[in-house]
């Protein structure tokens, strides 16, 4: 689905359902250099069960026009504007990686719009190494190879996609490589600069869930647990995977989301 927002086309997937704001909504926010397609399976599941699904593309990603936003706060403000435009008052907010920071910031600053919160592969702060940032600045294609490698567990790098015939490594890489030049660097910079995370975590008032990968090299299990411990009453689900949990453990991620959405 497409809508015009702040003078640009904004895209959101609906999981093969219909836009139905009168139904309970669930909002999916992707990570750096990604787009709505990472939520293919949960989006389709919740749409089939009658939810109003908004698997959005942040500006500059997927089918949403740019330019890319450069701060996490700007992204959560944009999400708020999108939900207002779509007539959505309250939603379950689900974010992965950079999207988890946007979800966290949104849930804290727009509490009346967050029915629940799910943070996948999260950490706050979410420092990005100089090696990766420099690579993203100078040659974001090389940075994508680095990040894609670090995003998979050791077994995951060798494959074993649960979706028949698909590859874990190249599946992730080809999606990153679709990102227009400059967007990935903007995303990583936004993650790196977001310092308000601990304060936002303390301010979250809705039920929350943190899903972590025990082999996550991007946002380590300890960091994910630290986020959970900062959010009142947050639950934790630990999965056997790396940062790319949506492809490495798609069924388990869905099972976890069903407990919070």
């Amino acid at each position: 689905m497409k809508t015009q927002l702040q003078g640009a086309t904004a895209f959101y997937g609906v999981g093969n359902g219909e836009h139905a704001p009168e139904q309970p909504s669930v909002v999916f926010i992707h990570g750096s250099g990604m787009d709505h397609t990472v939520w293919l399976m949960p989006a389709r599941h919740f749409a089939r069960h009658g939810y109003n699904v908004v698997a959005l593309d942040l500006p500059g990603h997927g089918d949403s026009e740019g330019p890319a936003l450069t701060t996490i706060e700007a992204m959560s403000d944009w999400v708020s504007a999108l939900l207002n435009q779509l007539g959505i008052g309250e939603a379950a907010i689900v974010g992965h990686s950079m999207g988890s920071l946007v979800a966290l910031d949104f849930a804290a600053r727009y509490p009346s719009h967050a029915r629940s919160l799910a943070l996948l592969g999260t950490s706050t702060p979410m420092p990005v190494s100089d090696v990766l940032l420099d690579a993203a600045k100078n040659d974001d294609r090389a940075a994508m190879v680095m990040a894609n490698t670090w995003s998979h567990s050791a077994p995951g790098l060798m494959g074993g996609h649960k979706s028949p015939g698909m590859t874990l490594y190249f599946g992730g890489l080809r999606l990153l490589q679709r990102t227009p030049e400059g967007v990935y660097f903007a995303d990583l910079g936004a993650c790196n600069a977001f310092e308000a995370g601990p304060l936002r975590a303390e301010a979250v008032a809705c039920p929350a869930l943190v899903v972590l990968g025990n082999e996550d090299k991007m946002t380590g299990p300890k960091q994910s647990r630290a986020v959970a411990s900062s959010i009142r009453g947050a639950q934790v689900v630990e999965l056997d995977c790396g940062h790319a949990m949506l492809s490495e453990q798609s069924n388990a991620v869905l099972a976890a989301l069903k407990t919070i959405v």
Partner: protein
């Protein structure tokens, strides 16, 4: 820069497979089961709605096949693959996924005979036409593109002329027109050539040949590079518009880079049904485990044999890109630095009859219709596959009466040379 974090030889052994979590089986088990039990009614609904991963029915997917599919996709640097019943099935699946009646293909005219038949005679019956062009002329590919063209197609190394396709140049002209490129990489395998790395979008293999490597199974593989933007092209409603045959699913919108291979499985395997048997997948996996070792030896032997034949009395010409006399020698060095395959053609003096005598004089080379076996193979097109053609028709097909095609195997090259010498003696004797 897309290189995976492991080297090719390691991936050929491990990609897509982990030891079985329950039994510890190290080899890929053969899941000889037509169907798979659903965990629950809700899980079943989820599988049919593409919101869960898993297997339903072996026409659509199978755990053994899935290992093979992921392995070839990784080796070819693609987002995914589908295993099918034969190389011809892979070709048909690609065409059927991309187009329908009223659409058009631009193809190299130097193709495997089965592919040529499909494009020339069978697909037109279903409303799909093909324009054949000189594989050495990228401008000819460009000129043949029409408003309804949906695919540019060629083989890495042509058959039987051994033309090396300039994949980067062909891809450039196709992409400029918003059209994907599919490459038949059967003769080269990903060990010698990874077309996606060179700019192509889709790859197909007859896995019957070098991938399985032992002449024991028939199978095909179709690989999606995940690099073509189907929606931006504007030519692919089957991929970028809601599909009534799958509850209005828009594959490009929902699957992103994997749109093509998702539709090939969800529609193509479902409706056309040319699936691969899991035992076949197991055999091909066994072959791929030793692909690097075998291909290196194939290349070593092929070069020795090509050079041997070049100097023999009674051999009018030898076609293999490893020879400086081949028109694509320089291009092959650039695009195929590890070798241009183990299939070659040569022209024997004395025409059709000499060709027959040559074949009958061989003891180690097997006379049969296949390539890519561990054993060396030979065929004389004028007396077998093309025996109904007269001399003029053979020339039009790029085949001469004295043309012999060899597939060089893994035997000791010295024994192969002895055998070829015996064949050449037989050919010459009969001519006196």
């Amino acid at each position: 820069m897309s290189k995976p974090p492991f080297e090719f030889d390691t991936l050929a052994l491990h990609a897509g497979q982990r030891p079985d979590a329950e039994t510890g089986a190290r080899a890929t088990p053969i899941y000889q089961s037509a169907s798979f039990v659903f965990e629950s009614a809700e899980a079943a609904a989820g599988l049919f709605n593409l919101e869960r991963t898993g297997h339903v029915y072996s026409r659509l997917s199978n755990p053994t096949n899935a290992v093979l599919e992921e392995r070839i996709a990784v080796l070819d640097q693609g987002v995914g693959a589908v295993a099918v019943a034969s190389g011809q099935a892979a070709m048909h699946l690609a065409v059927a996924t991309l187009m329908g009646a009223g659409d058009h293909i631009v193809a190299s005219r130097s193709l495997y005979g089965g592919t040529h038949n499909l494009l020339s005679y069978t697909l037109p019956r279903f409303g799909i036409e093909t324009t054949f062009v000189d594989p050495r002329d990228p401008a000819a590919f460009s000129a043949a593109i029409q408003d309804n063209t949906k695919l540019v197609f060629g083989e890495v190394v042509g058959n039987p002329g051994m033309e090396v396709l300039d994949i980067p140049a062909i891809s450039e002209v196709a992409h400029a027109a918003g059209i994907p490129v599919m490459i038949d990489a059967t003769f080269t395998t990903p060990y010698l050539c990874r077309p996606i790395e060179l700019g192509a979008d889709l790859v197909m293999h007859s896995a019957t040949k070098f991938l399985s490597g032992h002449g024991i199974v028939i199978g095909g593989l179709l690989v999606d590079g995940g690099v073509f933007d189907w929606a931006a092209s504007g030519r692919f409603p089957t991929l970028a518009e809601p599909f009534d045959g799958f509850h209005h699913l828009n594959f490009a919108e929902e699957f992103g880079p994997a749109a093509f291979i998702a539709r090939a499985r969800r529609e193509g395997l479902r409706d056309f049904g040319a699936c691969m048997a899991p035992t076949t997948a197991f055999h091909i996996l066994q072959g791929i485990e030793t692909l690097s070792l075998r291909m290196a030896r194939h290349m070593e032997n092929a070069e020795v044999i090509a050079k041997f034949l070049s100097g023999q009395e009674g051999v009018l010409s030898v076609l293999h890109p490893c020879l400086p006399s081949h028109p694509d020698y320089e291009l092959a060095k650039k695009l195929l630095p590890n070798g241009a395959g183990a299939v070659m053609s040569f022209e024997i003096a004395g025409g059709r009859e000499a060709g027959v005598r040559f074949i009958e004089g061989l003891k180690i080379f097997s006379h049969l219709a296949n390539v890519g076996d561990a054993k060396s193979l030979v065929i004389h097109p004028a007396s077998t596959t093309h025996h109904r053609m007269d001399a003029e028709a053979l020339v039009a097909a790029g085949i001469s009466e004295g043309m012999i095609r060899l597939s060089i195997g893994l035997e000791d090259a010295a024994d192969l040379i002895k055998d070829l010498k015996a064949g050449l003696r037989s050919a010459a004797k009969g001519g006196r």
